[in-house]
Every structure is written in C-alpha cells, then in structure tokens.
C-alpha cells in the first residue's frame, strides 16, 4: 500500500460542496503535483463536519491543523508553506470573533473541543465512499458478531438493556419495538430506515448519511436479524442527492463484499436492501405515511392500531427506525449495553 506522510481531510458535505470544495480540491491537486508532493500528501473527501458556515473546511493529519473558508487563491501559498515547509497558514485558521490570534489545532477549537463523537464517530475521519475505511474503524464487526454469535433474542436483550430510544422524535424504546415485531410470525417482514428528515432546518440525519453511510446499513443488518426480516428499504428524500449517492455506493459495495444479499458472513442470514427516494413531503416522515409512500400510494398517515410491527409495509410486520438510531446500533452491539447506558442522558 502507498504511504503518505499527511492526509488532508477535505470536507465534501453538502454545505462545503456548495461553497466550493470541488474547486479547492482541483487546485490542491494541481499545486501538490507542481511541488512534487502528490505521493506524499493524500487528499481525502469526507462528510460534513458540522461547520458548514465557514466552508469549505479541512483538517490536516497528523498535524491536526484545521482550516476554514478555503479559497482557490490561497491554495498555492498553503501548499508551499504548510505541506512543503511545514509552516501552517495562520490566515486560514479559526479565530474567536473578538480575538486576533488563531487557533491552529482542531482539538483546541471550542466548537470541536467538547464534542464526544459517537453517532458521528467517523465524520471527517473516513472517506464515506470507501468501505475499507469504514472497516478500518471497526466497521461491520458488530454485524459479524450479531449474525454469527448472537440470537435474535440476545440482540433484542442488549438493545433493551442499553435503554436506547428512537431518535426520530417519539423516543420509543428501540429494543421493545424490535421485540414486538420479532414475535409476529411471518415469512416476509421489512426493516426500514427513516431518512426523510422533514423538520425544517434539520440536517443531523443527512450528516450521518453523507459522512458514514455504512454505519446506517450495518445498523439495519443487525435490526433485520433481530426481527427476522430479509428485505429492507432506506427511505431518503430526493432533496438529499449526496446522501442518496453515497448510500447507493455503499449498498453496491456491500453486495460486492457479501455484506448484503445471501448468506452474509456464512451465517445463513439473507438481507436485501434498497433505497426508496421520497419526494420530500414532511408528512412522509411519519411511519404509516412513509410505508404508503414506498407502496407507491399517496403518503397519508392512517390511524394505529394496527401498528406497523403487525401490519406495516404491504401489510407485513415492519420496523421503522430513524437514521441516527440505526447508526448507534453497531456501537451498542460492540461495546455492550452497559457502555451505552453509562453514556445516555437521564430521562
């Protein structure tokens, strides 16, 4: 494998792409080449870092230097000073509004300093379009464990003990939801993910889908095993083209690697997953409306009961979970219920 001495993690979330990431990337590539540094410094495109207002942003490792508001014009100087001569460029660093002196290191910037990343554990650290980078951060270890070492009941028990509640808004205990559905006998069941994110101005689910699509897929595989589903849909609004693109890529990689489809990890468990693009109606984020929308009907809620655990998509037992809920599932399976409980907020 090639060796690079530095990795430049250039943000390619929706916000930064809109403010010019691709132009900056091209300029960086040109300039690195001009300086003969293209085999020493590697550019990696990442998902959103939550700092879109100052985009495009990037962090440079191993130095941990954070740059913001990058422009094509600054790139030649940046490459010469920082990447060749090792003198990070102060002009592009974060500054507190009232202070003159810059804060060079990402870990010293107040916005990042106090963050403990769990759902977003891989944001900015991996290339979301490469399954190997997700695997390098323990990706699919939890799915392997759930599929080859745990029964459905054991998975559900861990989820219940962890105390995790759904992040879609209602805060329903995820373990209980899975248990209801697992107890309904049926050949056909569905594991569904809610990536509709209709709340105006919200972008947490988009951030996860763009920055770490495999985490959501892994959560769905584990959920599918728990409830006994062999088919799934990821419902994402069409207004999230980058999320759709990265999830689509990720699903393709999973099929190639045998992490979706038949006999995953030789466990005998099959799971097929596809994306369904919603047209972007707020109400389609509601679970019964979402299921009707996948059925090709007008997205209208219907009264419950019957609950989706009994009669969901195409009247088959179904579980719908939010993106953020699912992205935590691998962590809970790997680290255990007590680990999660020790970190959760008290209700």
């Amino acid at each position: 494998m090639e060796r690079f001495r530095a990795n430049v993690m250039l943000c390619a979330g929706t916000g930064c792409v809109a403010s010019g990431t691709m132009k900056v990337k091209a300029a960086l590539q040109d300039e690195l080449k001009k300086r003969g540094l293209e085999n020493e410094i590697k550019i990696v495109l990442t998902g959103c870092n939550g700092y879109c207002a100052k985009g495009p942003v990037m962090s440079v490792y191993p130095d941990d230097i954070f740059y913001q508001a990058l422009t094509v014009e600054e790139i030649p100087k940046l490459v010469e000073e920082h990447f060749l001569k090792g003198r990070p460029c102060q002009k592009l660093m974060f500054k507190e509004p009232e202070e003159k002196s810059p804060v060079p290191l990402m870990k010293d910037i107040p916005f990042f300093k106090y963050q403990v990343l769990r759902v977003l554990r891989n944001k900015g650290l991996i290339d979301p379009e490469k399954i190997e980078e997700y695997i390098a951060r323990d990706g699919y270890q939890a799915a392997a464990k759930a599929l080859t070492q745990m029964t459905s009941q054991e998975i559900i028990q861990v989820m219940k003990n962890s105390g995790i509640r759904g992040r879609g808004g209602a805060g329903f205990p995820t373990g209980m939801k899975w248990e209801f559905c697992s107890k309904v006998p049926s050949d056909v069941k569905y594991m569904l993910c809610n990536g509709d994110e209709g709340d105006p101005g919200a972008f947490m689910d988009r951030s996860v889908m763009e920055a770490d699509p495999h985490a959501v897929i892994e959560g769905m595989i584990i959920g599918a095993k728990a409830i006994g589903a062999h088919n799934g849909y990821l419902y994402v609004r069409a207004e999230y083209p980058l999320a759709v693109k990265r999830l689509q890529l990720a699903i393709g990689q999973c099929y190639e690697a045998g992490l979706l489809g038949k006999n995953i990890f030789d466990s005998g468990f099959d799971f097929d997953l596809e994306i369904y693009q919603g047209a972007g109606a707020f109400v389609c984020g509601e679970e019964t409306a979402l299921m009707r929308s996948i059925e090709g009907k007008r997205g209208m809620p219907r009264p419950r009961p019957p609950f989706p655990a009994h009669k969901g998509l195409w009247n088959k037992p179904s579980v719908l979970n939010n993106v953020e809920t699912l992205a935590q599932v691998p962590l809970i399976i790997l680290n255990g219920a007590d680990w999660y409980k020790s970190r959760r907020m008290h209700h």
Partner: protein, 127 residues
C-alpha cells in the same frame, strides 16, 4: 472486492493501520524534517524521501513524518528531529541518505539515539 469473511475485516483494518494512525494520532514515533529554504537547498527533500522509503520498505505503521520550518541553524542542514513518544526529542544535523538509514534503524526502530549524528535534545512546536 471478493466476499468478505470475518478474518478479512481484521486484515483490512491492519492494512489501513498506518493511514489511520496518522488520522487518529496513535503513533509511536514522529520524524520532523526541517524544510526551511535552507533545508531544502541543502537536500532536505532527498532526506525526506529516504525516510519515507525506509518506513515503507520496513512496512512500519506507527511512525509519522512531518515537516517544519528552519530551526535557525542553517549551516547544519539538512536536519531532522526524531521523537519517540514520551522520550526527549533528538535533533540530527548534516544529514544525508546513508545517515538516515542508520538513524531509522537504530533510533526510530531500535529506540537508541545515534549520538554521533545528534546535535541536541529538544524540539520546537511546528505551528
């Protein structure tokens, strides 16, 4: 990509270890090549390449290489600083590719500073 087994997950993780120790910071040793104008003129680029080659050939995954500016002793360039984490950093001067091989083997890998090429113990921050 062929179908993955559980063992393959571990193999992939191992393969990416060098790259992720850059990003996550879990490295054991850091080599800083001084790349001021003086350093570059004296041959710091080939010293850098020599160090990168040693690391790649030995397939070592917990050593990182960075650059920094002029250390204020232009007459003794090319210079590098080798820092084994939790030990005093050592500055080496008047380097060439042959000396790099030795320093890599003895100090970076072996943990024993090569005194005959060493200038001082100590280091400045890079920002």
């Amino acid at each position: 990509m062929p179908r993955l087994t559980i063992d393959d997950l571990q193999k992939i993780k191992e393969k990416y270890k060098a790259e992720f120790s850059l990003r996550e910071g879990g490295y054991r040793a850091k080599v800083t090549v001084h790349m001021g104008t003086c350093g570059i003129a004296a041959g710091a680029r080939s010293v850098m390449t020599a160090m990168m080659d040693e690391i790649a050939n030995a397939n070592v995954k917990d050593v990182i290489v960075t650059t920094s500016g002029c250390a204020g002793l232009c007459a003794r360039e090319p210079m590098i600083t080798v820092e084994i984490i939790n030990q005093a950093p050592i500055k080496y001067c008047d380097l060439n590719e042959g000396k790099i091989k030795e320093i890599f083997k003895e100090h970076v890998i072996g943990g024993n500073p090569v005194e005959k090429y060493a200038l001082v113990a100590g280091c400045e921050t890079t920002y």
